[in-house]
Symmetry: C2
Subunit: 138 residues, 2 copies
């Protein structure tokens, strides 16, 4: 039986490519801010803890949808960064959803280690603000 060529499936990052564009229907739904970014909420898929919030432009989202790991765009450094490449604290993608008005992504992940660069599990741990609590029957 003749060998069939390896199908061009999931794009792999590394030298030379990015093979795919962001799907046109997804690109059309994105509502960017003035810097061309949308917000990406990162949630641990099983515990449902909200781990962090990052920013994505179309290319960061394209990589995230196609690589199985989360890539952000750093507003301060103005560059792409793939979570875990320097820390080992990878975020493996479990699902991605885009909200009703196209300016926020909810990405469920399997987080390896601490999500926060400060070493806390989430970027919100121990950072509560004093707030008045509301009640349905107040």
């Amino acid at each position: 039986m003749p060998q069939s060529p390896e199908p061009q499936s999931t794009p792999v990052e590394s030298a030379g490519q990015p093979p795919l564009d962001l799907p046109a229907d997804v690109a059309a739904r994105l509502k960017h801010d003035a810097a061309g970014l949308v917000a990406a909420i990162i949630q641990q898929h099983d515990s449902k803890e909200v781990l962090m919030l990052g920013w994505m432009d179309d290319e960061a989202l394209r990589r995230t949808l196609s690589e199985g790991r989360v890539t952000f765009y750093s507003r301060s450094r103005q560059e792409y960064w793939r979570k875990g490449d320097t820390s080992g604290h990878f975020q493996f993608v479990k699902s991605v959803a885009l909200d009703c008005d196209g300016d926020a992504l909810l990405i469920n992940v399997d987080q390896v280690g601490a999500a926060c660069h400060t070493g806390t599990t989430t970027c919100f741990d121990g950072r509560e603000l004093a707030a008045v609590v509301g009640h349905r029957d107040a």
Copy 2:
């Protein structure tokens, strides 16, 4: 003693109330985008579902911290809106945390009814994007 003039503090919308300024230590930690806003992730406090993402300037955050209900700033309409005032779908504040770099809030709420203006429970329901799933041992 001569009367000193009223300090020019936080502008107050609507007649007569909001008593407090945003605490100075909180204001100092906020890292706004070009439009003066930070992202606010809204999570149902018990189920841990992420309901929606909105935007807040300092005044919207001040109101949220002091009123027991969530107030956003609408980027499209350029005005404050308090969730539930027109829909009845109130968001009662349970806790508020500001992330490590000051550009995102995580607000746990008790949500009355649907969080999304389209009628879905969350703004992400039924809006999944096709994505490659990643694994720790891939």
